[in-house]
Symmetry: C2
């Protein structure tokens, strides 16, 4: 692959291919994905031909081969390193491709002796959802919650012509392990609905670019499609004509896209149509589409994001956090084998801190996919640095049944891991160049959910910045680690405290609005008054949400004494003087973290400035610009949050710092 | 004039012309405006020809004539009613037109004997500003702060073709005394800037429709026009080329529109260009345009709405309320004779309750126009009934120098009265049919600033609803009075209390957002904390704004004890337990007024329902629909405001009512 002009190479700069490009390599096998590996190798050789020619004796070489009878399974591979030759063997061409990129990630280390190892993805489905609109939406624009320019796939109502960019994107995704991609917004507007039928060729064109990198295309569809597109007078899943319509629709899709992945559906959610209108359950709805896809090997991703978004803020008995469990736990076991219930990792909506959604642990007879949000809707919108791998890792390591039970990474094996993509047609792919790490880390965690996020950060740093090629590798590595590793907790410190969530400007969700969602219909409240703050979700005195968890978590979350500090205000309404396990009062914790958060941004900004001589100028400049905005924004958050709580509580800062 | 199909006749239904249409009338004089009177009479006669024919003996007749040598002055007229003949005499054709509509307003009463009376407009300039964009603005739409459909003048970047609607609008405006109209938004965007030069013919076409009703066209222009349109490299008012450019621009305008009124300018305000960029004063800026207009008899309306809209909310020393006085009082006496300083009636921005702007009383050597807002940006956006005549009347009767000094109506004689129009291409002109009264009352108050608002309401009711033609005139009259007369104070009761202002949703300004503008850069704060609320604008301990007033007001406003209750929180920060002159505490006042406000809306809605048999169905239905929204909105305001202050203050409602 050649680099696209004016597009950042992200984690595949030429230098990242040096270890392969400077060594003799052999590729054995047939098929399009093997050809992709072959092309990758040839391109790397072309880049480093001069150096390879001069390098004289080659210390070892690389063999990539399809080998029947291995136990690596689909997409897996075995890596043997005997010190003179490194061999990647896979039964499946996709496995060979992943093995190739594994070698790229290892770099020179791939050519030192090590015991043979078999690598398999922990999760079979590792998917990115693009909330990209085909037609520009009057409010949400081309990409809903997109902060990285336009869509890579669509522009002004049509498919984009420049498929080279899509191909380059597929390559980046394959290199971090992603194997599925939803090409349009889960909010399916009128134009987008037609992708399923008369505009399927536009989806097929995208699929042809993704397919050589082992990535299958998925399509968000409208549950009302039989009415909207088919002219039927119902979309009732029990209606024979509706079932026939979906079967034909799926058949039609597969004639255009033989390796089509399946449908993604947001039903009965925030205004989207769904089975409720017909008196049917969400299992009925999902199974309708699953049955249509089954003959072709497709799956339906049915989103569990169903709640009352026209809630009355006066009503304290309704709790949006309960909704996914209340709707879907009773349906466990009623979904088809090729229906996947796609559940947001937390019960609300991608806040900087939420507990893990209890419904994930309550669906032992359902395939569950866990949905994360790489696009930073609530975490700084790619103007703030917020490396989410540690947050995601916490989710994936959470054990709903306690220490002896399986973790979320294990529970997601049936359905996979999904993230809303943060990529767009921005030259840096993700707006903020450092947000590329979120995309990369997502793919890697989907492959290996128990991976150490710090190790993934180092891996990404090595690939993206190739520190060994710069004047001061140690300073570059430590600087990059410093600005990224704890950036999530930094962001948490200066925004909504202790799991309270939201407190953002309504609509666009950027910047502080402490009461922005307090009197709204969205079910997102903190109930701060002059005495205290937080939502009582206990069983004893609150909404009962805490009891949706199995033990020990139902007990842990039930009382303020046992609840972890960072989730205290999510589960309990406490006085400002309530003492945390940290020893601080809630109000002093709010003040302290907000001052600290800004100080940490100031420090990160200085650190970034100190790397100017070690980072490519365009990338350094873009990040430096965003740090100015992040610092401005962090100060605004600090001052508004602290002022709000000082005005409400009347408690002065113990540190005597200035609060307005 | 014939009624336009599908357009509400507002205050000129056929029935309103009955008294004239059924009587023999003679019109003597020449010129286009006299012809307009002649056409009006002929049209009325045509309508009532049958009845007039049958009426047999005519009790008296009407003579409208141009008569040299009268003392009524321009636009004035003398009315003589001897019981057998009614005579309107005017020296100026415009006076004859106004006299004609005066007779229409009087109806049959015009034909009873009464002493001769001369009528003159108190203010020479009675102007509507349309904040209409030519090109649809991405945020503000076709009409900025418009709640009555599209623009009457512009659509999607071009002038509208249907000038019949413009003509009908001109007729309505003339019938209530308006004689000037600004055809485009004071925020002059790129497309609109060109109206001044290469698109002046579109303005001229509008002017030709308004002119027969005695209405002159004014145009909002960009101060940067010499750069934007003229290709100059500066807009500096001291630059000779700039001065020449404006002279030529004005010359060009007058060749197309001989009775052109002049320019309206919003400079150095909310992002619009102005003289500050060139180190010049606003007098320099205004005089530049005044000099260009002077040879043609035009005036420049220079808006005094200059303030820092990027204020830091942390900075309590800056006070937006001070801005107009601080900027313009020092410039008194430095403006040309044909420059009018156009000042918003209050120091902030058309809130439901503000004190009268102190700068109006501080400009004895400057022509001042007072600007009101008929479009209900902050007063319910024509979804809520809010008859503003009582509010405007309070402003116009305010005496800046105390009881012995002139009132605002008097001080505005040099410059006139201006309102931002609430009319659009909605079939009812103003969205809410009852909002027509605001348009009507504005015109009538501009003619006679000391008119009794209740009398104007009755006048409007008689014209618009012609109660005598319905089955139960008394019920209709009392019902309409009941829903309109106190609707302003009703609206005030359920929205921002005691002069605190704002508390609206940011951006669109509809619905409650108690902290919506509290941490914003707009200079609009209430500083509510757990102990109290309000802005200290005293001289002794606050921003000093109170001292911008002359005595006695500077003393009245200086202390909470002497400050009128309704403005208390505008001038003072007081504890929730502060006792008002009413005897109530501030917090109890907040609770009580918010419960009362909703009850008053409920009562008004019931009253309106009871009029269903007496009001035209389409009009009744439209108003009934809007009452549903008003009631919903009023309850939302009540509950959010009360909850906010209960949570902050902790003081329970003395009435024990439910607060959430």
């Amino acid at each position: 692959m050649t680099q696209l002009l004016d597009v950042d190479p992200a984690w595949l700069p030429d230098e990242a291919l040096r270890a392969v490009g400077t060594r003799p390599v052999q590729v054995l096998g047939d098929g399009p994905l093997v050809d992709t590996v072959r092309h990758e190798v040839a391109a790397a050789h072309a880049k480093f031909a001069a150096e390879a020619g001069h390098s004289g004796a080659v210390s070892c070489d690389l063999l990539l081969r399809i080998a029947d009878g291995g136990d690596a399974g689909p997409e897996g591979f075995t890596l043997e390193r005997d010190g003179s030759r490194t061999t990647v063997a896979a039964t499946d061409p996709a496995g060979l491709l992943h093995g190739f990129f594994h070698v790229v990630r290892l770099g020179d280390a791939a050519f030192t002796a090590a015991p043979a190892q078999t690598h398999r993805p922990a999760l079979a489905l590792r998917m990115l959802d693009h909330w990209d609109n085909v037609a520009v939406h009057p409010v949400m624009g081309q990409v809903e919650r997109g902060y990285a320019g336009g869509s890579l796939f669509w522009r002004d109502g049509r498919a984009r012509g420049d498929l080279a960019r899509v191909r380059a994107y597929a390559r980046l995704l394959a290199a971090c392990g992603i194997n599925a991609l939803g090409v349009n917004n889960v909010n399916v507007h009128e134009t987008e609905a037609h992708l399923l039928t008369d505009r399927i060729d536009e989806v097929a064109a995208i699929a042809r670019e993704l397919s050589p990198y082992g990535i299958r295309v998925h399509l968000s569809v409208s549950f009302a499609a039989p009415v909207l597109l088919g002219g039927l007078d119902t979309a009732d899943p029990h209606d024979a004509a509706v079932r026939a319509w979906w079967r034909e629709a799926a058949e039609h899709v597969y004639t255009h896209i033989p390796d089509f992945g399946g449908f993604v559906v947001k039903a009965d959610s925030e205004g989207q149509p769904g089975p409720f209108a017909h008196g049917r359950s969400h299992a009925d709805g999902a199974n309708l589409l699953a049955d249509a896809l089954a003959p072709h090997g497709g799956t339906v991703h049915w989103r569990a994001f169903v709640y009352d978004h026209r809630q009355d803020w006066r009503d304290r008995t309704t709790d949006r956090a309960r909704a996914a469990y209340d709707h879907f736990a009773p349906l466990d076991g009623r979904f088809r084998d090729n229906a996947i219930l796609q559940v947001k990792h937390g019960p609300m909506d991608f806040q900087v801190r939420e507990p893990v959604s209890p419904v994930i642990g309550a669906l032992s007879r359902t395939r569950v996919a866990v949905e994360l949000q790489a696009t930073q809707e609530y975490t700084g919108q790619q103007r703030h640095v917020c490396a989410l791998a540690p947050a995601w890792s916490e989710v994936l390591r959470f054990r709903p049944d306690g220490a002896d039970g399986p973790d979320i990474g294990r529970l997601a094996r049936g359905g996979g891991l999904v993230a809303v993509s943060n990529a767009g047609d921005d030259p840096f792919w993700t707006g903020h160049p450092l947000a590329q790490f979120n995309l990369y880390a997502f793919g890697r965690l989907a492959w290996q959910p128990d991976a150490d996020p710090d190790a993934l950060l180092d891996e990404w740093i090595e690939l993206t910045f190739t520190p060994d090629r710069c004047a001061d590798p140690a300073r570059l590595r430590s600087g990059l680690r410093a600005v990224l590793r704890d950036s999530w907790t930094t962001y948490e410190k200066y925004t909504a405290p202790l799991g309270s969530g939201f407190m953002v400007q309504p609509g666009h969700h950027y910047g502080p609005g402490i009461d922005g969602y307090e009197y709204s219909p969205w079910g997102t409240y903190h109930f701060a008054d002059r005495d205290g703050i937080g939502v009582d979700r206990s069983l004893a005195t609150g909404t009962g949400y805490a009891a949706q968890y199995a033990k020990p978590w139902s007990e842990t979350y039930e009382t303020p004494e046992s609840c972890p500090d960072e989730l205290l205000l999510f589960f309990h309404h406490v006085p400002y003087g309530h003492r945390l396990h940290s020893g601080k009062t809630v109000i002093q914790h709010i003040y302290d973290t907000h001052f600290e958060g800004v100080e940490e941004v100031e420090a990160a900004r200085r650190t970034w400035q100190s790397l100017a001589d070690l980072v490519a100028p365009a990338r350094h400049r873009r990040v430096a610009e965003r740090y100015e905005e992040q610092l401005r924004g962090a100060r605004e958050w600090r001052d508004q949050v602290n002022s709000y709580f000082l005005r409400k509580s009347g408690v002065p800062d113990a540190g005597g710092r200035r609060i307005h």
